[in-house]
Point group: C2
Chain length 315, copies 2
Amino acid sequence: MNYIIGIDLGGTFIKAGAVSKDGEILFETSLPSQAEVNPQAVVRQIGKAVGIIEEKFQSDKLLGVGIGSPGMVDLDGGTVKNPPNLANWIVFRLGDEVVKLINEPVKVENDANAAAVGELKFGAGKGMKNFIMITLGTGVGGGIIADGKVFRGAEGGAGEIGHTTIDYNGPLCGCGNHGCIEAYVGQKHLSRHVAEQLKSHPESLINKLIKGDMEKLEPKIISDAANQGDPFALQIWKEAGFHVGIGLVSAMNVLDITTFIIGGGVAKAGKPLFDSIQETIVAHAFSTVKPRVRVLCAKLENSAGVLGAAALFAE
Amino acid sequence: MNYIIGIDLGGTFIKAGAVSKDGEILFETSLPSQAEVNPQAVVRQIGKAVGIIEEKFQSDKLLGVGIGSPGMVDLDGGTVKNPPNLANWIVFRLGDEVVKLINEPVKVENDANAAAVGELKFGAGKGMKNFIMITLGTGVGGGIIADGKVFRGAEGGAGEIGHTTIDYNGPLCGCGNHGCIEAYVGQKHLSRHVAEQLKSHPESLINKLIKGDMEKLEPKIISDAANQGDPFALQIWKEAGFHVGIGLVSAMNVLDITTFIIGGGVAKAGKPLFDSIQETIVAHAFSTVKPRVRVLCAKLENSAGVLGAAALFAE
């Protein structure tokens, strides 16, 4: 059988998986990334992960090793630039170094772009030519699929849709600007906003669920309350969807791409959030574009990182 | 000599020009577009314009006829969809119909995209692979050049950067949304804003220049005042540049394209406007991107429409 290795490179851990050509995870493992040591240590850890998997699949044919990495990625040499959370790492030809070590085909892509390729090959974007992928988590990441390929821009940094401004007087974002989508719905921003609003909503079910412990104010709790019909929690998702939707309209007008695939932990809020995103985009789209708007839930979930990286070698 | 015909199709007039391969205008003419009759009448007028030019250049070789049209353009058949200002025109295979009539190679492109191609082939974008073109006029149009080609999106409508939201509570735009770039710096919006502000700036030179006639409050007047050092007029351009810049940062983050070419009547404001746009973009760009930001003045000016259309046939 043919298989692909997908590597999800994070600041603390490397997740590695053997993936079938159809996107089925055959085996998964995880190692410390040792990113705090230096890039060469990361290369060694990737080599170790590949070794573990190759040993298990000795009688099968490895098609290639896909790596999803933080930071900007230049396809030339699989070069990773300025990755956040990877120390001592400015510009490093990760792909070339991994090839030297394992002597197999290697492709490197930015992790958000890889997630978009994952949805394209194995997930909600299967068979599509154009969509915008958004990951709602601690940060708000994005990847653009245009004409069936990753749209990378001048230097591979395209898709930072989380840093689309929706109100230049809005809340401060981690990037230093005001009113980015991420400054509203990035997980910490959202929790802080809910904590503030909660003071004037003593009736909200959220209060019961967190029992006064604001640390517990995670999207999961807001969703639990919303699922039980709590009006305040529903309102929170409605607002979050509005903020995401307004930003996506700008991206849509720039790109003329009208399909959105939304994943990440915050997206687990489900219907109340998705309905609000869809309504906001349709309400603000050019009239000729309205009928084309589609907002879909990402399919790859927890293994999105490994599957996205593996998808770099999918047909 | 080889030459190209460029056709700038407008709601009232067709401008047509014979253009050399290097982007020199050899001859220009103009005819009523008869867009108020029907699309076939427009085709006949285009045919007439081509005939006039071919007669003048009988001993030369026509390389092709490029047409810049309002509306969304599908390259299949040179199909123009929902053009504003062209009546009775929903979906029409303009390119195919013109080919039938004149039997020469024809390419059709959206006018804003054609303007970007014009700058790419003949203007400020010569030799570049990636830039965003913005035209500041009555509306705020845009075109994206990515990897040396027009980025068209799913259906050819990409580049509507004028409808990037910078404040969803901002002023109402013609598109029905609030706080688009166009709602701040589209010519009418800008004039109205200045008229309002002028009441609290009786000292401004603008008052002298318009002599109380608010109808005269065009960008040209604001520029004249700014050029004479009028602080209020300078402040207007500074604000306008800020609003444009904030919107361009969103587009830049989505596209990872960091060169901006800015044209159109309002761009004649020159240095005070351009400095403000540049400063705003640099101030709000990701730190790794700041050094790459370039804001350039478009070069094609008055003949941008004809040259952009002709550029569709330039090497």
